[in-house]
């Protein structure tokens, strides 16, 4: 087991005062809070910071930790000294509201977990619903559009045969409904943390994150697509093929179409109770290479059409 240097985690000296520790914790908690930060490892960092604060804010735990730190940081993997028993223990977080089930094996080996409390509460006939859990779920746009089955791996607190809460890796297969949006939550009832004393399990909330698509952009329930068209298709009008999430569709471009013009294909956006639309944004694109003949035709066009696109700039 790896030794955790809580002073390093909070970025404070080992002689830091309580107020310095509190201030460092508050700063880092704001920085790494999973609801605030976009960092991939924000949740892990936040748990680490909360764990460090849980120990260092408490005089008794801090004294015990300091003692172990001198013993444990001497090198190699960490194991508590034989016969080690914390007298501080864990009694649930103060303002952090910390739950030791979220803490590391290192913390549990030093200060114990919630296991004893769990058994005691069951004995007293006290039932409590399990914690709700939160987890990100990354999807491709195609998966969000059509719905899919995803396998996810979570670390869940679970009661062992002896009633002790242990953290275990669990694989779960999730049926994701078609039409989920970026940032939306989906819920799996009863798949959160276990209840205590016979109470029901909590729920699992998955926050959907949709990866950027090379062609389509998602805005609410609508999809946007930039569609390159030739100058002559824009000038003369044309019937063109447009990719959609369900395959190709035909779209008519009216003569005299402009760069950036937005055309709507109704009902071709994200599915759902209120189905979105697909907006096609025209992008007038020149052929990459000119031939002698095409240059001749452009010269004829220049002679024929008196047009100054910079008139509004006064030049």
């Amino acid at each position: 087991m790896e030794f955790k240097d809580y002073y390093d985690i909070l970025g404070v000296n080992e002689d830091a005062s309580k107020s310095e520790i509190k201030s460092a914790y508050r700063r880092l908690a704001r920085k790494y809070h999973p609801d605030v930060s976009d960092d991939e490892d924000a949740e892990d960092r936040f748990k680490e910071v909360s764990e460090a604060y849980e120990v260092l804010k408490d005089d008794e735990k801090r004294a015990e930790y300091d003692q172990l730190r001198r013993y444990g940081s001497s090198g190699g993997g960490f194991e508590p000294p034989p016969g080690w028993e914390s007298s501080a223990g864990f009694s649930g977080g103060g303002f952090t509201g910390a739950d030791s089930r979220d803490f590391s094996d290192f913390f549990e080996s030093v200060f114990g977990g919630m296991g004893g409390g769990f058994r005691q509460q069951r004995g007293q006939g006290f039932a409590m619903r399990g914690e709700d859990m939160h987890h990100p779920l990354s999807l491709f746009l195609e998966e969000a559009y059509h719905g899919c089955e995803k396998a996810i791996t979570l670390t869940k607190p679970e009661p062992g045969p002896d009633g002790q809460i242990q953290r275990r890796q669990r694989n779960l297969k999730v049926k994701v409904p078609a039409g989920v949006r970026d940032g939306q939550n989906i819920r799996l009832k009863g798949q959160g943390g276990p209840g205590m004393g016979g109470g029901p399990a909590g729920d699992l909330y998955l926050e959907v994150r949709i990866a950027p698509h090379p062609h389509f952009r998602l805005e609410g329930s609508d999809l946007y697509l930039t569609l390159p068209v030739t100058p002559w298709e824009a000038a003369l009008g044309a019937s063109v093929q447009v990719p959609t999430m369900d395959g190709r569709a035909s779209m008519k471009i009216q003569p005299g179409a402009r760069e950036g013009q937005k055309m709507r294909l109704r009902g071709k956006g994200m599915p759902g109770k209120q189905r979105g639309d697909l907006y096609v944004v025209l992008q007038i694109t020149m052929p990459p290479k000119q031939t002698e003949k095409s240059r001749e035709l452009f010269r004829a066009l220049a002679d024929e059409v008196p047009f100054n696109p910079r008139e509004h700039l006064g030049v």
Partner: protein
Amino acid sequence: MGKETHSAEMMDEFMRLTLRDLCFDCHISAEYVIELVEFGILRPRRGRAPSEWVFAGSDLVRIKKAERLRRDLDVNLPGVALSLDLLEEVRELRRAVEQLRREQAQRESP
């Protein structure tokens, strides 16, 4: 891996929840929900009196986020209201910046 596949429900604008549903799912009291409405953290989709209020699935997610911010960062309710609004704005801005970056990269690619 377990063989069972678990169906997920969408916590969206179309999921309808009463005040009672919200209290039960979030383990909070009706008085607290009323306070959240008063601070503008929540907005009932329908109904004038609390007994008639109807909320959406996304409101439940918002309450849970509010609770996490309050608990983990020691923020009071006006602070939570401000944080939630600003976080939403930051999220929109990040998305817009990312989109502009991608469009610029596309324009600059040969």
